[in-house]
Amino acid sequence: MKNAKSEIQKSSGLKALGLSMVLFSLGYSSMASAATLETGIRLFQRLSGVPPTSGELSQIEDLAAANNLKGIAELATNTRGFINTTVKAWAAPMSNVSAQASVEFNDFTATIVGLVRDEAPLDQMMWDDVTYVGNRANLLAVVGNPISVPQPAYYRNDHWRQLELKGVDLNDPSLFERALQSSLSDARGAALLPEQTMGVMTSHASAEAFLQAGTNRRMVRFMLIDFMCVDMEQLHDTTLSDFMVRRDVPRNAGGDSRTYINTCAGCHAGMDPLANAFNLYDTFTVVGGMQEPLGIMVKYDSAKVQNIPGLPQNKAETMVEQANKVTRNYQNYPEGFRPRQQDGNIERWVNQWTVGQNSFLGFRTPAKQVGEPDSDVPNINMGNGIKSLGRVFGATTQFSRCMAQRAYSSVCNRKAPYSQKEIGLFANLAESFDNQGRSGKALFVDSAVACIENEMGE
């Protein structure tokens, strides 16, 4: 009997697979003849990720008849599917080194999703004291047991993982809300201060992906990849001064200093002065009562470069510096740049890309925040600390172009290489993005419409 049942199950499984695949191939046999309503439905689904309901279908029909593609796109962005599927999948690849969309939901992704939903200026993800968490009190009605969604903590991802596992509607502000990143605590009750945060770059997910180990240059590289859509190779410029290249970069690799001058310095001369802003950041492993590791978090610790009490001045400094990830391997070139607290340059960053070939990034003075004195608005050439660095890069025209390119690629299923026409589209979308308060939702609407119009014109 068991064998017979197993046979049936196997047989039915095979047949279902076979029939499904036949219907699968039948479904798109004559896709070339697209009607206006079909175009409207396709536009809607590219944003919402789900088929329209009968009510939405009726609205799409009316809007399509009026050739109101933007209206259809706006209708789609008001569905729960837009935030829960399209935007979530759009943001997730930015949260990890391998740019995978199938990673678990985390605070990095949550912050971007929330900012898009709330139509907040998207560049806030690069500098603001912001995160998004589930409202545990209201989650009770959805998940039944609030204990199953733990408190958001800065050193572990359990909270955000459970939001995904429980299928919490991220489009519902009563369930998923904005919070201060500095309000998240580690096991000791201490986390970053507001001025030490840098949006998603100081999130727990970022700590795991970009800050752990290494020399903190990875933070700069992925800030550029994620938000500027450029990698270091594209910014390689050997004309820049290498006055802030750290001591761990050998100046005569293989006994030939030309390698450093023609290759290494091209990236390090621009990158190291920016990575300097992250000097006091590291990851910290939080342990439980049995000393078991619970997770890691971003740690800002100025004690790292301060003298240890009770030790001679010179010895203390050496010991601390050798333990510091940004000063390791200083023997490679001891005359290289040496960030020190006493020199006042421990968190100073210098931007050498405002002129020359990399000025295409389009640096602009960041917008003044409410109540902010003019003297506190970051300078595009240099600053102190990561927050001002994030604000300067978030204000660039390249950030807007990058977001436009990412949104267009997402809703249009396009990847590089882009056509000249599409590159022109990105510039227009970026300008519109800037003019609409850098709203991610408006950018998605414009990108989806531009894509459909581009396809219709082909």
Binding site: M31, P51, A101, S419
Partner: protein, 206 residues
């Protein structure tokens, strides 16, 4: 092996029938910009498939149990591993909308996911006293069942297969199954029929 062959042939059919306009190198003049072939069809990603199947079947994502056990395609009731905990289906389903990255193993995972949703869906319907209660009743009303799913799951599909062809295929599938199955398992046949509709390109692509 049989599954692989079917999947490969179907995938080939898909790629050859999706509209695109390739330019041939010998038609290009110097300086011409090469337009890469583009498909206007997208495949839904994991979350989109999850949301879509939830919306179509009425099964609430939040109410699904999150167990990470192996699911028997047709007969297991109340267990699923749709969500990512414990190496669930998330990693097996498409991670983005790019049709060029879609492959046969994705379709296999989609069928499993459809089976999970249909399992919950049919159980819920049965609890309300809906649907044919026996195989004989199912056979008698199979056209109505097919028409119901055709309208409900494929209502907004851009290009649908002819319904008569679908009815014929479903009848043949059920007939083959009934020829080797002695007991009365109307629910399982219903779940299977539901899964066939729910896992088709009309649902998983747009």
């Amino acid at each position: 092996m049989k599954i692989n062959k079917i999947s490969s042939i179907s995938a080939l059919l898909l790629f050859t029938t999706v509209s695109c306009s390739p330019q041939f190198v010998d038609q290009l003049a110097a300086g011409d910009e090469v337009e890469l072939p583009k498909a206007n069809v997208s495949v839904r990603s994991f979350d989109q498939i999850n949301e879509t199947m939830s919306a179509l079947t009425g099964v609430n994502i939040s109410k699904l149990p999150a167990r990470s056990i192996t699911v028997d395609m047709v007969t297991t009731v109340g267990n699923d591993f749709i969500r990512p905990e414990g190496g669930g289906l998330k990693s097996e389903l498409p991670s983005n909308n790019n049709l060029a990255e879609f492959n046969a193993s994705h379709q296999g995972a989609i069928i499993r996911m459809a089976a999970i949703y249909c399992n919950q869906h049919i159980n819920a319907e049965r609890a309300l006293g809906n649907g044919p209660a026996s195989v004989a009743a199912l056979n008698a009303s199979i056209d109505n069942v097919v028409e119901g799913y055709y309208e409900k799951f494929w209502g907004t599909c851009a290009v649908k297969p002819e319904i008569d062809g679908v009815k014929s295929e479903i009848r043949r599938l059920l007939s083959d199954l009934q020829s080797v199955q002695a007991t009365d398992v109307a629910d399982e046949y219903l779940k299977l029929t539901c899964s066939v509709f729910l896992s088709s390109s009309c649902v998983t692509m747009f």
